[in-house]
Each structure stands twice: as C-alpha cells, then as structure tokens.
C-alpha cells in the first residue's frame, strides 16, 4: 500500500477535468441527465409492472392454484372447485380458500355509463388477506349485494369515494343487479384494471350468473409452518390432473408480470426510452472527451516526446471517463430518488429506488463513459510527437 502511494504520479486526468470547470459541469450535467432519464424510464417500467400485481399481493397464501388457460389477471379462466379441496389431502396443506376473479361492467351512478372493473369474490369469514385491517372490513360483505370499493380506482367509475365519505348511501348496478358500497379500500390501478372491487363469493356469483357455481378462478392454499413450498408444488402437480396449475405466491406474481413484460410492448417501450438515455449520454461524454483530447493534442504529443508511453496517455483518457462516470452518477442518483418521491406522490405508482436498479443505471453510466473514452482515444493516436518541433 505504501509503495503504491509512493509510486503515484501527478493526477493528470483529474487536473485535466478540474481545471476546466465549465467543461466538467457540462459533462456532468449531460451524464446526470442521461442517468435521470434511465432511472425514470426503468422506474416507470418496474413501477407499472409492480402495480399490475397489487391485487396479487393482497392474499396471504403460500401456494396458488390457477387454470392453465388463464393468461393474465384480466383473462382468468375457471377450474373445478374440487381441485382445491383435493389439495387438503396433502399433509402439508393447512387450509384453502377459493377466490372468484373477473371483470364486470360497473355502471357509473352519475353518468350511467358502463366500464369494466376487476371484481374479486372471496369468503368473508376467511379472506386470507395479508393486511389485518382489510380482513376486519370484510365483515360487512356477509350481507348480500354489498361491496368494498377501491378508492384509488379511476374517476370514470364515478365519485364513489366522495359520496361514501359524505355519508350518502352509494348504490349502483352491475349486470342489472343492485349493489351497495359498504366501505372503501386502497389498492391501486394497473394496466389491466382501471378499478377494483371486493365482495363475497355469494354476491360475486349473483353478479355474474353465466359463471358455473362449481368453478373458481383462483385457489389459495396455506401451508403448515416448516413446509417447503417448492416440494409441495411438485407433489400437488403430480397428484392433481392437468386442468390446474400450482404456483407459489411469487410464481403467481411473476406469472402476471411476465404477461405484461413479454405479452405486451410496454416493457420494450420503456427499455427503449432507457436506451435513448444511454445513447444521449454516450454522445455527450464522447463530445466532451473528444474536444478535450483535441485541445490538448500538442500537450499529449509533448508527453510522448518526453518518453511517456501511448498506453500511459490512453490511461489518462480512460481515467477521465471513469471520474466523469463516478461524479455524474451521484447527482443522477439523488435526482432519481427525488423524482421517484415526486412520482409516487403524484401518481400513486409504486416507484422506488431499489439496489438492482441503482446498480443497473450505475453500470450503464460506467459503460457509457468507458465506451466514449475508448472512442475518444482514437483521436490520441493522431498525436505525432514529430510534429511538435
């Protein structure tokens, strides 16, 4: 360590950057801008994917049964309810709960226009919710024709939350059946659903008479403590017929996310946006380093004439790129945090800084700066020490 410190030289890269503060600021502004753009796009992308599974996260289940014909939360197919009961035969299964899941046409009580809303029907006695305060609210659903309305639903469903808070009796129709809003919950919208409502199995089946009573869309399974979910999944898969699919809760969440990631162009669009940020950053850093090398070409040539190796000078440019990456990343990260806070506040989208995204963007900025310095180096080869006399 001591010899390393003693072996150090004049920090030429750092001095080249810091003694030209305007150029440095332009470069850092460019890199930060590119970084913020990447944080923004990737944040939106992940936030939207996360939002698509808010409803999936509601349930406190270890395993989930769905039909293999289900494509996503907006196209859930039914499977026989007795499959869920059959899982009780497995010693690791502690309890099960059926859930009905589907889109319904909600009539806006103000404008009388219909709009599709995601409805979940479950057993109000044993709702399997993660959030205990939600479980308390389900008591009111034991009465038929009562629902809980998601107050984060889009305003197109009508001023339900305001009316409810004013103490009015909020009633409307679904498929010709009268229903009454008996409480509010906060879930959030997603790609597939502009709004959500929670109700009991009984009410759900009344509202969708075309559905067969023996079919459910989702089966929740709770395991005994200490059971290995992966093992039970395999056991159940081999024991149950092919008309159901067994997933872990995480698998259920991934199933939904994957649909939006690979089945739609949303992921592509936001990834493209992030790539644009990357390209813009590359251009800016390349421009700055290229002008820097060009301006100092006679000085680089002088160093070569003095006996410095070309590789030493290439190292100077690489280090310049590295310092730019580090210094540009810090403001980009801070601005990203601020922006996420702002977006969360304004859109209720679950956007936040996570370690993997912070690393991804940091890596992208590093690659961006290194790539640009590699390109700018080509200019350095033009430095001919024989020309400086």
């Amino acid at each position: 360590m001591k010899t390393l410190w003693q072996g150090r030289r004049i920090p030429l890269s750092w001095l080249l950057l810091s003694r030209q503060p305007v150029r440095l600021l332009v470069a850092l502004a460019g890199i930060s801008f590119a970084g913020i753009l990447m944080f923004m796009q990737l944040g939106f992308r992940d936030g939207l994917f996360d939002a698509s599974v808010t409803v999936h996260r509601l349930f406190d289940a270890d395993l989930v049964l769905i039909s293999p014909r289900s494509a996503s939360s907006v196209r859930m197919a039914g499977f026989p309810r007795r499959r869920l009961v059959q899982t009780l035969a497995d010693p690791a299964v502690e309890g099960v709960s059926p859930v009905h899941w589907g889109l319904m046409l909600w009539r806006n009580p103000e404008t009388r226009l219909n709009r599709a809303i995601l409805a979940l029907g479950f057993n109000p006695d044993d709702p399997f919710f993660v959030d205990p305060s939600l479980s308390e609210k389900t008591e009111v659903l034991k009465q038929k024709g009562r629902i809980l309305f998601d107050q984060l639903s889009r305003p197109e469903f009508g001023p339900i939350a305001e009316w409810y808070r004013e103490g009015r009796t909020v009633e409307t129709e679904i498929a010709g059946n009268r229903i009454r809003v008996e409480g509010l919950v906060s879930l959030g919208t997603s790609f597939g659903a502009d709004g959500n409502l929670l109700t009991s199995t009984e009410t759900f089946l009344d509202l969708s008479p075309q559905k067969s009573r023996g079919a459910i869309e989702v089966g929740l399974i709770r395991l005994r403590p200490g059971a290995d979910p992966q093992e039970v999944v395999q056991r159940l898969e081999s024991r149950l017929p092919d008309d159901v699919k067994v997933l872990t809760k995480q698998g259920f969440i991934d199933f939904e996310k994957n649909y939006w990631k690979s089945g739609t162009s949303i992921g592509f669009i936001f990834t493209l946006g992030a790539a644009m940020g990357f390209v813009v950053g590359c251009v800016i850093v390349y421009q700055v380093l290229y002008t820097d090398v060009s301006d100092h070409l006679p000085e680089y040539a002088t160093l070569m004439a003095m006996g410095y190796r070309l590789s030493h000078l290439l190292g100077v440019v690489v280090r310049e790129g590295f310092y730019l990456a580090v210094m540009g990343y810090i403001p980009a990260y801070l601005a990203g945090e601020g922006l996420y806070w702002f977006v969360r506040d304004a859109t209720r989208l679950p956007v936040g800084m996570d370690a993997s995204r912070a690393l991804t963007v940091g890596g992208m900025i590093l690659v961006m700066c290194m790539l640009s310095s590699l390109l700018a180096m080509r200019r350095l080869v033009d430095a001919d020490p024989a020309e400086i006399f």
Partner: protein
C-alpha cells in the same frame, strides 16, 4: 562513447514525383558535455535532423546512434525508451496548461525509475530553484511570462536526468536579454550534468555560448563548419 553519432544520414519526404530530399549524407558526432549550435536558413532540414536524433521519426537511411542505441531500424517501443534519456525544449514552451509550474516539472521527474512520490517532487522543486523560479511553483503557465515558461520547460527537460538535450529555437519567443539568460542557464545546467546539447537557433546573439557551431544548407552540413 559519443552522445550522438550520425553516419551518412539521409531523409526525404513524399513519394514519387513529390519526393523531396531534406537531408543528404549527414555525418556528425557530439560528445558528452558538448554544446553544439546548429544554424542555417529555414527549410534546410534542421528540424528534421533534430526529430531524427530525438527518436521521434523513423530513420530512412544511414546510421544513427544516440546514447549508445542504434535508431536505424528501431521500432516504436525502442524509440520511446531512448526518448526517456533525451530532454527536449521546444520553440513554444509546450507546457501542460492544466498543471502548475511544479507539476509540469514533476511530469519530467515522474519518468525517473524507482523514486518515491516525495523524492520526485523534491527533485522537481530543486530544478525549479536552479532555474530561479522557487517563488512561482504554484502558478499555472498562463500566469507566467514567456521567459519564465521557457525556464520551466528547461527544468522539466532536465528533471528526467537526460544525457542529451535537444532544443529547437528556445529563444524565438523571448526578447534579447531574456533569451541570452535562458541559453546561458541551459548551458550551465547541462555542463553540470555533463549532458550534451544540440540547439537549433536563428538568434545571432547567442552563438558565442557554443563549443562548436554547425551550419546547414539544403540538407547538408557545410564542410567549413566541421
């Protein structure tokens, strides 16, 4: 051993019709500690000669031996190694604009092998002191006068402990008195190191510092001067 030994050195630029001979059959020997001045009309090949001796250009024909290394047929890497033993002073001072006087000189001292950072910095300071700039160490080239810049350049060239010093019109940008001062300083310091000096100049006022005077015309050394 001679510092520089040239035998029948020739050089030309361009190809075919455009080919122009700039050096023709030059033979020359410079011994350690000797101060040699080279004069001649512009375009006679002085600078080309300097770049060939300075290992900045590939030798085309003839034999060139600098500080015991054969340069004819030497590759890029070998020439770079030889350059470490040669100090160069340019017409424009060619200091690094973003470095202070002290740091510029240390760029020269940094080439010394096996010395710690502090030793190299002290080396740089000592050289600045010997060119009389001890109170200007922290200044950027921008804030120094022409004569001071050229003195920093001399300190930088000497800080790498060269055994041969090449200078191309080091006084061109300086007024008479300052130019004289700089050249005398150069000669004194080079003598102390027993370092050979080859200086190209147009300046008639400094010719008397030379041990030997060479004159060039149309790519040839004038026999009278040898």
């Amino acid at each position: 051993m001679a510092s520089v030994e040239l035998q029948n050195l020739s050089h030309s630029y361009g190809r075919g019709e455009m080919r122009r001979q700039v050096l023709q059959g030059i033979s020359l020997r410079i011994d350690p500690g000797e101060v040699v001045l080279l004069t001649g009309p512009s375009g006679c090949g002085k600078t080309t000669l300097l770049t060939l001796i300075g290992a900045l250009r590939t030798v085309q024909s003839g034999q060139v031996t600098v500080l015991g290394h054969r340069l004819d047929g030497a590759g890029r890497r070998q020439r770079q190694q030889v350059r470490r033993g040669i100090g160069m002073i340019f017409q424009g001072h060619n200091l690094l604009r973003c470095l202070t006087a002290e740091q510029n000189v240390q760029m020269g001292a940094d080439l010394l092998p096996g010395l710690g950072y502090r030793a190299r910095r002290d080396e740089a300071r000592q050289w600045l002191r010997s060119v009389g700039l001890e109170d200007q160490m922290g200044k950027l080239p921008h804030d120094l006068s022409g004569g001071q810049k050229q003195r920093v350049a001399i300190a930088r060239a000497l800080a790498a402990h060269p055994r041969l010093l090449l200078a191309d019109e080091p006084t061109a940008a300086l007024d008479g008195a300052t130019g004289r001062e700089v050249v005398e300083l150069l000669r004194r310091l080079a003598r102390d190191q027993s370092c050979a000096v080859l200086m190209v100049t147009h300046d008639p006022r400094i010719l008397d510092v030379a041990d030997r005077l060479l004159q060039m015309e149309d790519g040839c050394l004038l026999p009278a001067a040898q």
